[in-house]
Symmetry: C2
Subunit: 269 residues, 2 copies
Amino acid sequence: LKVAILGVGLIGGSIGLAAGRRGGTHVRGYDPDGQVRARALELGAIDAQAPDVASAVAGADVVFVAAPVGALAEVVRLALDCAGPDCVVSDVGSTKRLLADAAADERFIGGHPLEHARADLFDGATWYLTLGSARPALYERLQGLLRSFGAQPTPIDADTHDRLMACVSHLPHVLANLLVAQAASLLGGEEARLLPAVGPSFRDATRVAGANSAIWTDIYMSNRDALLLCIDELTRRLGETRAMLQAGDAAALSEWNERARADRGVLLR
Amino acid sequence: LKVAILGVGLIGGSIGLAAGRRGGTHVRGYDPDGQVRARALELGAIDAQAPDVASAVAGADVVFVAAPVGALAEVVRLALDCAGPDCVVSDVGSTKRLLADAAADERFIGGHPLEHARADLFDGATWYLTLGSARPALYERLQGLLRSFGAQPTPIDADTHDRLMACVSHLPHVLANLLVAQAASLLGGEEARLLPAVGPSFRDATRVAGANSAIWTDIYMSNRDALLLCIDELTRRLGETRAMLQAGDAAALSEWNERARADRGVLLR
């Protein structure tokens, strides 16, 4: 297979490494930053660099767009314009619905790998694919390539994907920021020394606070609708818990807590 | 020093081990459960077992009450009744204000060790102490003993302690439960298979969901006032974030996120 990668930073470059090493393909890469391009070539993440999107995409069987979320729709459109009639174009953006609307094309399959911070970024990782109106044969091709990376292709519709991410990733990020802000305002100045060196529940709950703004502002903005719904639901649930607590209803609190234990066991089995 | 421990389960027993091994003291223990008492003796957590509170406390220089939060006030009162005029009585409860009110005595110092799950439970751990009207000499004695455990005695007033714990521990527990409940309701039944095997931010954010109900219902109930204030503040902050998002104010979201990054750096330095 001939693979083109548009944007060869960390994620794009890792796809290149996986495709070359594990997928046995030829990889051509483009990046608007010439230094990033040169570095990817040096590291063996790409076999050849292209001077622009059109040359990168020409003749490719599979194109991965690894541009920032804010620029994704534009680069995906450009890639579809340049790609041949039998080429599959995919992306790696964290939200999917806006893109699905912008790139309704039988050659487009939205993608979202949940990479881990490990040597083999995609090994065993869930890789969401939103099929939209994609041609089945192209889906088969993309799926086979992703499996060769060690990833688990998981079809999902774009709406469900965005609601799911809002709930299990974007909302936890929002809450992490709020917990930090609240603790900082309580412990402003002098009292900061009181915060225990070891506060494991706070540390874990806020691990993702202040994640890279360039990435996360884009994610929040592009998944605005789903995240607003998620915030509203959390606010409603928080109100219910507040009422139990205010009423001093120990039995209800215990039951609520037991249900959370059982639910987490099922969700993170 | 002669140390008495009332309640010799995990925390009480660990104090006994620390006091015997690291503090070089003689430890007498009482527990309403005879099997727990026998086990503590067998493990060397206590040097002798007492048949009741009065015999355990008789002649002691330092008494630790390690009873469940719901029974704490009663056992502390009983210990103070039995203890000599020069004995310091402390506890290990997770909230402090209710107890400070119930046990205003110059021999009482509220305590809250933030133990870790390690071989040496208290080594390097913050150990909060609420002094109230405690006699300075008794504070010196208790502090010296805790230092011999490797712990860091940290004086704090009971109100501040409870607000701090509500913010950095109890509220994160509440949110963890709510995140789980919300994800479970979104992913009920069929869709549960969509949750990625690897969801690091969700996993971390909900690590403490459904913590032991017997312990946590007591904690929520006993720290009700501070936790209600904390929930109200979070609700207000969540509303502000919602408004930024609804307005599509990317600059404000970035600034809010950057502030969280800076605050967390200061809080968890």
